[in-house]
Each structure stands twice: as C-alpha cells, then as structure tokens.
Amino acid sequence: MSNYFDTISIGQVIEGTPFHPTRETIREFCEASLDFNPLHLDDDYMKGSFGKTHFGGIIMHGMNNFGVISKMITDWLYPHGGVHRRLETRWKSPVKPGDKITPSAVVTATKVSASSRWVTLDIKVVNQRDEIVAAGEAMVEFPIDN
C-alpha cells in the first residue's frame, strides 16, 4: 500500500462510475443538497432565457457532477491510503434528465514536497455523445506514514 505512489505514472487514467440522471435523481439531489433552485425543479421556469443561455427544461445540479467526480477520486484513493485534497471544476455544458455522464481523470504530475507526496490530475466528464460537460483539475496526497 505504501509503495503505491511510486507506481503512479504520468498519463495514467482513472475511470469513474457512469451516472444516469433522471428527473427523480435530480429531485432527490434537491432533497439531499437542500438546493431547491427552480433550475432543477420547474420546467415552466426553464422555458425562459438566462441571459444568453436557453436551457429548454430542467437541468441537473452542477454539484451533482462535482459529487460524481469526487466519488471517482475517493474510490481510487481509499484502497491506497490516499487523501482527496482538492477539486476544481468548470461546467461546460448542462446535463439533462436522460443523459449519461462518465467521469475520468489523467495523472498530469507527481511531486514530493518537504513532508508528503502529491499527484495532480486533469478531470473531465463526458456525456453519452462524448461531449465534455465538465472539466477541471484535482490534487491528491499520499501521506508518507501510510
């Protein structure tokens, strides 16, 4: 377990579990996150325009995407004693009920600091049309005493 960091290579890919948002999961995410913004609830409201953006119906919470990415990272890390330290995301395009989203990560760098060991990753989430719906970066730690 403690040697896992030494086996990590630049370009290594981590695949996450696909997520299938539905109207029900979006409603459940409202309940679980307490984010009841009508963007996620009210189709009539979503027929309107938001500045230059027209969604045409309810959309999944961006933070649902964030949670799916974060789960991918912890699923990878926990068996190896790693710690999820940072996640930055940008939402590129809305996710709607019926879509299928799949997160993945690519190792971009490893770094040994004064007292620990770190890995940075590029993150992306694609939908069923292989369009990028979210992109970002993550940083994880593999403590030396693990």
Binding site: E31, A32, F36, G51, G67
Partner: protein, 160 residues
C-alpha cells in the same frame, strides 16, 4: 457539542427572494450571514445514496472504526449539502436562477456525523464576462473544534 436540532429548511426559493441582494448590491469582501448546522449520519447517507456512493466509510461503523479514520466520516464533497444548510433564506446564494459556473475546493479534515458545522463566507469578487453577471463566493467550513474541514470558491452567474 450543541445538540439542538437544525432549523427547518425552507425549500421554496422564491420565498424572501425580494430580500436578497441582486448583483448590483453585492459588495466583494463583505461577509455573508450564515447559520450553524448539525450534520447527521442520515443527511450524510442521503447525499451518498443520491450520488451512488455506498463506500463503507460512510455506512459501516465497524469498517470505519478499523480504518485510519477511526469512525464514520462524510465524503469530501459533503460541502454541497453544508453550503445550503448554513445559508439563511435571505441570502443571495438562494436566488432563483443562480447558475453555477465552476467551483474550487480544498479539503483538510473529513466532516463527521454529529459535527456542529460553522460557515464563514463572503462575496470575494464580481465581474461581467460575455454579457453575464458573475460573483465569486469564498467559503470556509469549520467543525465544533474550530478546525477547518474544507474551503472553497464558487463562480456563479447571477440572475439579471
């Protein structure tokens, strides 16, 4: 730890909408009023189930007790729930039509069931880009021992 129950949560985001600051009124650097929140195991597991994350660190007390975490924890992204739990109804974060453009979070310690969570939050920046009104909000969550759980920023597009 303060065991008092959490306030009831208003799920109608239109309520008090007129009390909330619009983009024009938001002052970067100004603190946002927040409310403390007691994180329950039920709330953690509800979030986990929706995401499809059934890791035993969040569900199996015996497994978690034997792990390096020495007890059940919440997943790092539990700040998703904490953000709205700690935000009062008149806060602009609840304005209908607020669009999340991006987030950046750093994790220090895991939150745990029973933690009394406190949020320190402020608007950090506001700007116009591609004809859209943006605000950056800055947030730090603490536990009852005044230890940082996580800190993060969010970029939101404000309703015009």
């Amino acid at each position: 730890m303060d065991p008092k129950p959490n306030q009831s949560f208003e799920t109608d985001f239109w309520k008090d909408a007129k009390l909330r600051k619009a983009w024009d009124d938001i002052v970067p650097g100004e603190s946002r009023r927040t409310v403390p929140y007691t994180l329950t195991l039920e709330a953690i597991q509800k979030y986990c189930r929706v995401i499809g994350d059934l890791h035993p660190l969040y569900f199996d007390e015996d497994y978690a007790a034997k792990s390096p975490y020495k007890g059940l924890i919440a997943p790092p992204a539990i700040h998703i729930l904490l953000m709205f739990s700690c935000t009062p109804t008149d806060d602009w974060m609840r304005s209908p039509g607020t669009v999340n453009a991006g987030q950046s979070w750093s994790y220090n310690l895991p939150a745990r069931p029973g933690d009394r969570i406190r949020l320190e939050a402020r608007a950090l920046d506001k700007f116009i880009r591609k004809d859209r009104l943006f605000v950056v909000h800055d947030n730090v969550f603490f536990n009852q021992h005044n230890e940082v759980i996580c800190s993060g920023r969010g970029w939101t597009i404000r309703p015009a």
